[in-house]
Every structure is written in C-alpha cells, then in structure tokens.
Symmetry: C2
Subunit: 377 residues, 2 copies
Amino acid sequence: MKYRLLTPGPTPVPEETLLELARPVPYHRTPEARAILKEVLEGVQYVFQTQNDVIALTSSGTGAMEAALVCAVPRGAKAICAYAGRFGERWHKLWQAFGIESVPVTAPYGKAVSPQQIEAALKAHPDAVAVCVVHSETSTGVKHDLAAIGPLVAKTQALFIVDAISSAGALELRTDAWNLDLVATGSQKALRMPPGLAFVSVSPKAWQRIESHRPAAFYFDLSRYRAKLKDPDTPFTPAHTLLRALQISLRRIRAEGIENIWNNCARLARAARAAVHAMGLELFAEVPAEGLTAIKVPDGLDGVELLQRLEKKYGLKLAGGQDHLKGKIVRLAHMGYIDFFDVLAALVGLECVLAEMGHPVRLGSAAAAAQQAWLGT
Amino acid sequence: MKYRLLTPGPTPVPEETLLELARPVPYHRTPEARAILKEVLEGVQYVFQTQNDVIALTSSGTGAMEAALVCAVPRGAKAICAYAGRFGERWHKLWQAFGIESVPVTAPYGKAVSPQQIEAALKAHPDAVAVCVVHSETSTGVKHDLAAIGPLVAKTQALFIVDAISSAGALELRTDAWNLDLVATGSQKALRMPPGLAFVSVSPKAWQRIESHRPAAFYFDLSRYRAKLKDPDTPFTPAHTLLRALQISLRRIRAEGIENIWNNCARLARAARAAVHAMGLELFAEVPAEGLTAIKVPDGLDGVELLQRLEKKYGLKLAGGQDHLKGKIVRLAHMGYIDFFDVLAALVGLECVLAEMGHPVRLGSAAAAAQQAWLGT
C-alpha cells in the first residue's frame, strides 16, 4: 500500500531532497559548507520575507523558540504570552522554567487571541518586554492575525516573538512589513525537510535587547551565532548534511515563488474546507490557518478508529487531536510538498471511511466540492 | 578524485546508513517510531556499557553536554571543570554562562589532567557538586584516565560528568564500572552517523540530584525526557529520520562487538603512531586517545599548506589545529567507519606530501611501520 503523509509536521520531503540526504558526509568547516549555509540562510530570509539576520540551529522548532524567548527576556522580567492551544501553552511553560514572569493572554481551543486582547495586555503591563504569539497553532488549526498585532507591539518597548513553526512557507508571513522581531521555525513543516534544523530571524531592535543582557543560554545563545554570521559559520557542529539537503528544498521554494506558495496553500485550504462542509462536517478552528484543516469528528463516531482506518486501509496518515482533543478532531495538512491531489486523496479517503463507519455521506460530494473550490468555480 | 574523510568528526557514514537517510519520512508518533527509539537507546547503552537511562536529543554534542552540565548543577553551586584543550574550556564557559561557579583544573595543551589533580581539587572544594572531564580531548588528541578518576569522584557527593563525544564507540568506555554519572556523546564521531543527534546517559545518583532542583532548562531539561522513557518517546519532535538511520549504524556496531571495536581502534592508533615515528615526526599528545592521532608539524613546514596539499592533490581530508594550534598540528581520525586501509592512505599520503614539501622522508617507511604495527609483528 502506498503511504501518504498528510500530518501537520512532519510533511513529505521532495525526492531530490531525500537523495541529497544519502550523499557522503563532507567536512563541515570548509568554504563549500559556508557557501551552503549562506544560501540556506538567504533562503530562509526569503521565506520569512525579511532582511533581518537568520540564525540556523540544530534542534527542533522548540529549540529555536527557546533561543528566541530566553535571549529576548532577562530572568525576572515580564513578558506576555498569547495562547489558544498546546504550542502557545508550551512557550508559557518555557518562560516559567527560565524564571521569567509570563503573563497569559488566552482564548479557548478553536478560537484565536484577538489583537484587542494583546493591546489591552500591553496597556495593563507596560513593563512587559516581549509578546509571544503562535502564528499557526498546529494543535487547533487556528491562525493569529500577526499583521494586526505587529504594529501594536511595535509601538511599545516589547519585542514581538512569533512561533512560525508550522506557518513559514505556508501562510502569508511578512516579517519586516509586520514588525516581527524574532521569528522561529523548524525544518519539518513547510520547508519540506525532515526534522533536525530550526531557524530564528532577529531584528535590529531584538539584537539590541539581546546584546544588553547575558541570558542563561549557551547552545541557544543567539549572540554566539551572530558572531559567526560574516562568511557564515556556526559556533557548534551543525547538522550540515541536513543544511545541504535543505538547500535543495529551498531552491524549489524560490523557483515556485513564496507568494505563489502562500496562494496555493490558501487554495488547498479552501478546497479542503469546501469538502468538509460538503460531507456535513464542521471545522474546529474559528479562524483557520491555511497550512492545515482541523475537522471536528461527528458526535457518536470514534475519532481514533477513524484515523486508524484511514491509515491501515488507505495508507492515509492524518493527525488526530492531542491531549483532551484526542479522538475529537482530525488534522489534515496542506502545506509543503503536499499538492491538490494529495489533499483530494485524503478527503475522498475520509468520505470512504465515514461511509464505512455508518456516517451518512453521499460518495463523490467531497471530491466535487474540493474540485470546485480548487478551480474557483 | 576520490574523497576520504579522515577528520575527528564528522567521520564517514556506512553506505547502508546513508541509503536509510534517503527513505521517505514517516510520522514520528507511532509504535514503529517508538520501537526505533527503543532500539537506538539500547544501542547507545551498549556503546556506553551502561544500564543507566539514555536520553536522545536533537542537537550537536554540545547540546548534550549542556543538558548534563546544567541539569546536574544548580545555579550558584560550585563544580570542578578539568581541561587541557578547547572542548574542556567550552564546558567551563558553559557553566559560567549559567551562573555556576566553575573551578578550573588544567594542564597545558598536549598533556592530560591527572587523577591526582582531580583528587586535590575535590579535597580543596568539598562543596563541589560535579566534576567534568573530557574523555578524548579532540582538539589535542589527549585521553583522560576515567577509570582512575571515576572512583575518586564516586567517594564524594559530586557527580562525574563525562564528555564522550569523540570517545564513545572508539575508546574503552565503561560507564557503570567506572562510575560515570552523566556521559554525553554526539552522532557524528564514532557512532557512524552525520551530525544532528546527541545522547546523555544518567545514573541513579544523577537522577536524584537532577530531580531535586529546577534547572534553567526546557529543551535540555533531562527530566522532561525521563518522563517519556517508558515505551520511549520524546517531549519535542526528534530528528526521527536520523534515529532510523542510526539504528542501522548501531546494528553494525553490535554485530562487530564493542570490545572488538575498541581493540581495533587501539590497533589503528598504534599503526598511525608507528608510521608517525617512522617518518621522523612527533605526536602532539603525551597521553594519546585511541580515536585520533595529533601529529606535530615539523618546524619550518607550513601546516596549512600541508593539509591543503593532502586534500587538493590526494583527496585526503584531515583536520588541522584550532585557534593557536592552527598550522602546528595535523589530526588524523581512526574511529567509526574508518579502517586500516583508510588510515594507511592518509599516512602514505602524508609521506608523499612531506617529500613534495622538501622534508626528508624515505618513501615506504610510513607504510612499512604502519603495517608492522597493525599486524603486531
């Protein structure tokens, strides 16, 4: 059976990138290795739409967020953490682990924290030195409105820290235009790579803050990486064979064009949502992110069984809900190296499984709706 | 021209491991992924010769050392850091970055810190809660005598933290027999993998200490990983395609047998050193580690040019010295997936380049000496 990976991370990796991973290992402190790193950092700048410095880390996306959060906020200082899902909660806990006073600004799972909430928190906490927001909250499929929040934060002393782990390369993301000071992502979402690499972009405002205090950091001390940026190198051994492979995926992204990729992702999202409605199902996210669609499992159906049937019978690997959402939602990715026909397979497979499980569906309705939405007719 | 990687990290990766890296990416939260992680953790236990828990991290070896050093020692506490080279110095700086009082116990580059020095430091600082030693100091090729130091530390309250980054899988390493509390390594040395993964083993004595304080850590908080060890999983997205490939390299290591690997590594070291002496050259390390040989560049020869000739003309990639040792030493690895004939190529290539550069050598002397030492005749 053919396996189709349609989870919101990891996502499928293009064949030419996989083949690059199988090439012999070279030494990592050479002009050739620095040239690869340079091209990768420029490629991530392009994906982030920024002129800011980009730092490459060998870690998961959580490592990149730790670097951003800990370097930006001194121990004992106060910061605002917006969350409406599992990943935002993680950053709240991370700050607490480092002795930072994290002020939560929250919304229920499935909803988004509003720009007005952020504005009110900034007014109530003028001493906050940072605001953290998850762009695409992968646990619920919700998108936060960075374009609206950015200018609110920019008016203050606070740094705007963005978790773009499942958004960079999928959703419209304009780091410079939206005043995003620190933006973090991981390799295994829309960058079309396996996990193992992560990136943070750092604005001049953020560098000024970072250089002004000595963070409790070493491996994730962004200043150490900054010192190596000229003819770029890394302070610690990088996963340089992953960087070499990412170069291949980034070339493909550049060739496609980032705006085309955002538009295509939004188009796939519309197709998926049209099919969801056509099957009589509901979206979980009130303001859905374009990189994935979170679908409510209908009452009376076992969401765990549904996912198992999709995987075992049809080779379609979708993700379920985490923690208290387990069995309650299905999460379908449409970002990175996933195209319309992959999404179509997932939607039609879902319709087949719903029929098998006795849920009333009309076979063909998902495909018809997806196709119409995709073509925009 | 054929390229031969003979640097003390990264080292060559077996072909079947490289091919594994090119396989499609699966989802990472599945029984299959947990089974791979389980086998990898057991494989690292075998390499470490320990029954202690092993934690897998997605980072370079420095990340694993940060996890060990920061989780073991509370902020403001005192710890002893032995160093006689660049990597030991790094751990001293790391502790300082986290507000830990690091007491240096040093020896000049090329020499080893003696067990007597450690014993004296433990007596002078009975409040020290940890001792950190680099097993194989890759920057100088020096080995530290863990078997002698282990029992000295075990008599005290201090935890014994070992950097085994370039030693695990190369030098004799007996974590349990030698009372090593926290042992860290990276994937790109003798584990026969590209960089991107790192491991830490944790003794019961170390767990007790770690759980008794809240470290300034999140991504490297070992307790978070410990909580996932039953039916093993990871708290953050692991580089699971690297884990799957490491499984292949570890199977090969198990099939060869760790004692055979140590013996073979020591045999290659003897061959390399015999050839060095036969060429009229000198070793840099007074107590050399078996994983690499650091060779003094003869006075009057340009060590940078020597390495360039080896690489450009013969495809032999050896490492030079770092910082003030640049141009002064040549470092040849003989660990991991490097065999006698690879080492022979490097030694004969070195002899050829010495001849080209006008240094008096008798062609064939390196090969003869290496071969004799290797066969033990």
